[in-house]
Amino acid sequence: MKKLFIVLLFLSAISTSNAQFSELIKKSEVHGSFETDGMYYHADNDMGITDSLIAGRNLAFNGYAEIIYTLGGFSAGVRYEAYLPPIAGFDNRLDGQGMPYMWASYATEKFSFTVGNFYEQFGNGLVLRTYQEWTLGYDNSLNGVRVKYQPVKGIILKGVYGTQRFFWEKYSNNNRGIVKGFDTEISFNDLFKSMESSKLRLSIGGSFVSKYQVDNDPLFKLPRDVGTGAARFNVGIGKFNFSSEYAHKINDPSAINGYIYKPGDAFIFNASFSTKGLGILAVFKRIDNFSYKSDRGETANALDINFLPPISEAHTYMLASMYPYATQPNGEIGFQVQVNYKIPRKSKLGGKYGMDISFNFSQINDIVRNPAGDTTAINVPGTLGYTSNFFEFSDHTFMRDIQIHLHKKFSRKFHATAEYLNQTFDIASIQGHVGEPVIHNHIGILDMTYKFTSRKSLRWEIQGLFTEQDKRNWVAGLLEYTISPHWFITASDQWNYGNEESDMRLHYYTIAGGYSIKTTRFSVSYGRQREGVVCVGGVCRQVPASSGFYVTISSSF
């Protein structure tokens, strides 16, 4: 509470500028943003939400406000967050309010120094990435010191030291580890004048990260320092681009891997071809025992030091996002091929405006695990756990996703998108629904927009999801009317008409409306939220079924 008043005082000091500071204030800049999400829940007996389940907790509220102040090379920022209590589906440990993010930094052309909380990423994030994702309630910022140094153009060195945010719990004596990290990136085209305009674009990088957490385990002798290292490159030759990163971690027994002592590996390889109107991408990825958290006992979405990028597509249509993939940190191996093509304008198929076609295929399997010794079974705590061949796919498919996407503008007034998806989804492994069969589905989507005038348009979606497993078949529809640049109103329904239990054949309807002006957006919705999973970047959060009103206000300046 005191801190809040200090910030308010600071703010009012800025705004009521006196003459002495007026020159300073002219040169300084303030950016800021805020968002509040409020929820009112009510009972919905059809969905199994009764008054006694809600038990008087009808209201939930997530909010934040952030201010960044800059004066020349100096900048500082603070964020206030409140979860009173958190909206259903967010980690309950967020309950509370305070200032979890405060920092100041000073930067010159070659040098930058940050104290406080910061977000940083080394390479692809395989060994270190701290970030914040409001929609997940996720924040693993480091609180400590960061130095960036650019001795010459083309070389960037970074060093970080600190402890991670863990909801509202302050760091104290070994309740989580201390993270140290170092990264360097060399861009040859910037470093050497002779390569400045070369067709070959080459950069390499390397990182080392270590966490320090004293072993207090009664059973096992655990490593106090866990080191990880990674090396990466990016090569561009004309229309081709290749990039890769490999990371290795020493033994790091944890609650996630079941306290096994096997070292971890992670590997990503991307190859792409890009030319006017055509882009092709191929990705190979392998993760083997690579969860890396600053507290070995943590199992939820918190205290991750690294980030394991998923190679599945992030679907956004209502029914297409029913079965989202979450990265399996203990092991997965997969590949992805994606083609984006634009049929040119004024061709037979392309018509006056051209047509976009894209195709995606992703498959992710489990890795193969062999016993580490003749007498030990796989994954026994306290042992090496298993051995695994690097390029071997197991028969166990976690997910397969085939997608065809077409978009065509037919006239100035009408354009449409059509999408077909075919998915295989192992809900038992990915979402922990033990014993449930693997889901095979077909999904079809039509999304059409008609423009009445230059400002008013109507968009409608028709979707279907067909499967013999889980909750069986669904259909969905949506209508959205917009008046640019301020207004929208929308109504949608998802109907689980194929559910085996006839009293569970529910309609999940929502009506919503909103107004936006400049950078401020206000929206209200009413309806039912189906039970599901919200994922951003392979990190997912469970959303329970709910029914009620939802209000969001967000703004920035």
């Binding site: 509470m1 809040l4 703010l11 800049e29 303030v30 950016h31 800021g32 943003s33 805020f34 509220f61 909010g63 406000a65 960044i68 800059t70 900048s75 409140a82 009173l84 309010q97 977000y119 940083e120 990423q121 692809n124 994030g125 990435r129 970030y131 960037i156 861009s187 674009r201 561009g236 681009n241 990039s243 792409s272 890009s274 030319t275 006017k276 055509l278 882009g279 990028p309 992030a314 956004t316 994606q338 083609v339 984006n340 634009k342 976009d356 894209s358 423009k451 400002r455 348009s457 917009t482 640019s484 929208f488 950078t519 401020t520 970047g537 206000i553 967000s554 703004s555 920035s556 300046f557």
Partner: protein
């Protein structure tokens, strides 16, 4: 009590936001990357005294892609008339940064696209929702910003771009 304090704080900021929106600020200095992996400082984004549009987007954001499609279609026309330059900033994370270049090629977008994979530029500009578009005048001052995209916004944007290109003040918008 805490709830009331929190709400008051947030409302206070809200009023501050309305009052300050788009008031002649410049771009902060952040190092981000080109699609070829080279480092670019955001303060070097300029356009010879002509307006610049900075559009934040991501592969997972449908309205963002619609917005950029709409701009792309009109880009030639807009450039001829006003010399405006569009710079699209992808905030896709490590999951998708490698996908951005082939996607942009497949879309045949004519404007420049830059990568902000850990959202440093986004944070420095206090962008909380995308699509979020900034309009800069010829001197690099942020003169207008807008979040969200509805069909037809491009016409409104172009009206503003024309005014800015003519040196008119659009602070009342």
């Amino acid at each position: 009590m805490k709830k009331i304090a929190a709400l008051l704080f947030v409302m206070l900021l809200g009023f501050g936001a309305m009052a300050q929106s788009g008031s002649g600020k410049k771009l902060p200095s952040v190092n981000i990357k080109t699609l070829n992996g080279e480092v670019v400082n955001t303060q070097t984004i300029s356009n010879d005294g002509k307006p610049v549009m900075i559009c934040f987007w991501a592969l997972w954001c449908k309205p963002c892609k619609k917005e950029l499609d709409a701009y792309n279609e009109l880009y030639e026309e807009w450039q001829e008339e006003t010399g405006v330059k569009i710079v699209a900033i992808s905030i896709d994370d490590a999951r998708s940064t490698a996908k951005v270049k082939p996607f942009v090629s497949g879309k045949d977008w004519e404007f420049e696209v830059l990568l902000d994979p850990n959202q440093e530029f986004k944070r420095a500009l206090s962008v909380n929702m995308i699509p979020h578009t900034f309009l800069l005048d010829g001197n690099g001052n942020i003169v207008y910003q807008h979040t969200s995209y509805y069909e037809g916004l491009e016409d409104e944007m172009f009206e503003l771009v024309k005014k800015v290109a003519n040196g008119e003040d659009i602070s009342n918008h």
